[in-house]
Symmetry: none
Subunit: 234 residues, 2 copies
């Protein structure tokens, strides 16, 4: 695909273990940035683009989950692997909630880690074909700037969108005229699929419809039991 080395952000407070792991990964052709704690990890994350984050869960000042949440706010796509000291169920579940792609129990087998890294990066690579950095959309008479979170109608005054409004409208726009499955929004935006998140989503659909009323050619249709469809009538 490309001979570009994949970049990994490794956040691990144990200096010995961290260094060993870093060297091992570098030996296997990854470019590794090693941060010694959560704070530093977040700083480095913001500075660079990474293909994968490996986060230790147990760290002073800022644990892996908190860091993951912050990372997820900036980037919903980057794969995250957690390192946990032992099999703690709570950890695992919590990890999935913040959008972990996998987790590993220390001590773990290094070859297994390599396989996981390969599998995950490859997976994301195939997924990302369509998810290419798209933040600006034309929706009928509207312009949505999803990075700056505003929606403007016919060059008028832009209206600010809340994070959830923005993400939801963006997902709909990505699937313009096509089905945007309920499940997709719930897992991608709410990271949980239950009765309440589902109702919450309905509330946001109502809000978006209110914004979009300005252009009667634009509407959000429901497909019962499946999801929603943003249609632009011509």
């Amino acid at each position: 695909m490309e001979d570009q080395k994949k970049r990994i952000l490794l956040v691990e407070d144990d200096p010995n273990f961290g260094t060993v792991l870093k060297d091992y990964l570098m030996m296997n052709d990854y470019e590794v940035t090693h941060a010694k704690n959560g704070m530093e990890g977040f700083e480095k994350f913001k500075k660079d683009d990474f293909d994968l984050c490996i986060l230790d869960v147990m760290m002073p000042y800022k644990d892996g989950f908190t860091l993951a949440k912050e990372i997820r706010e900036k980037n919903t796509d980057v794969p995250i692997i957690f390192l946990t000291a032992k099999t703690m169920k709570e950890d695992v579940l919590r990890g999935y909630k913040v959008g972990a792609d996998d987790y590993l129990n220390k001590p773990f087998d290094s070859e297994v880690l390599l396989m996981k890294i390969k599998a995950i990066i490859q997976r994301k690579a195939t997924e990302t074909i369509s998810d290419s950095k798209q933040f600006e959309f034309k929706i009928g008479g509207f312009d949505l700037n999803s990075k700056l979170r505003f929606l403007r109608f016919k060059g008028g005054e832009p209206v600010k969108l809340s994070p959830k409004e923005n993400e939801l409208l963006r997902l709909l726009a990505l699937h313009e005229n096509d089905l945007m499955p309920r499940e997709l929004a719930l897992t991608k935006i709410w990271r949980d699929d239950n009765y309440f998140t589902s109702r919450s989503m309905d509330v946001y659909i109502a809000k978006l419809r209110k914004y979009l009323k300005l252009d009667e050619k634009v509407e959000i249709l429901n497909i019962h039991g499946e999801g929603f469809r943003l249609v632009i009538n011509t």
Copy 2:
């Protein structure tokens, strides 16, 4: 959401463990087919469409890996999770080689398994890009879009179809001008063949006929005791 329970193929030779696991999964709203060995597993796999396969590695006659290879030959997409008795590195690596999506060491935590299942099925759902052509049919003067569940006559206003209406019309269209056996619709759509589902189907046939009246060249004929036939007269 009722008629789209996710279907899991569970292949596990230990009858106790297998039954417990099956029950647990069913309690969590999955439809589970339990095969007691690799052979049976493959047979069942060929007969049905599954959303996920959970394979025990250690089985007599045909181990999980061999089965996985056979499954992969028929279907490159279906997610596979392996159950291994203990952390055996070779197993894990071999599993990834045949395209495993994940693996679990027995004994494992059931909640963790559930989370993994959820994560994997959802991942696949988002990956699966629109295989559109499968869902669009021309029926005389009508266009049926089976994914978005609408039926349009001569470019007019599309009418929305309910899930059952949609599935039934799609099945009929797939057998255009040919017999669509009653039993086929009942097993594929209603997943059950009895007096009531059969009457329910008749009700839906009536509904479809009403929609299709717009084009007098299109009709649904009954073949007494056999099924229905969607004919397009020229």
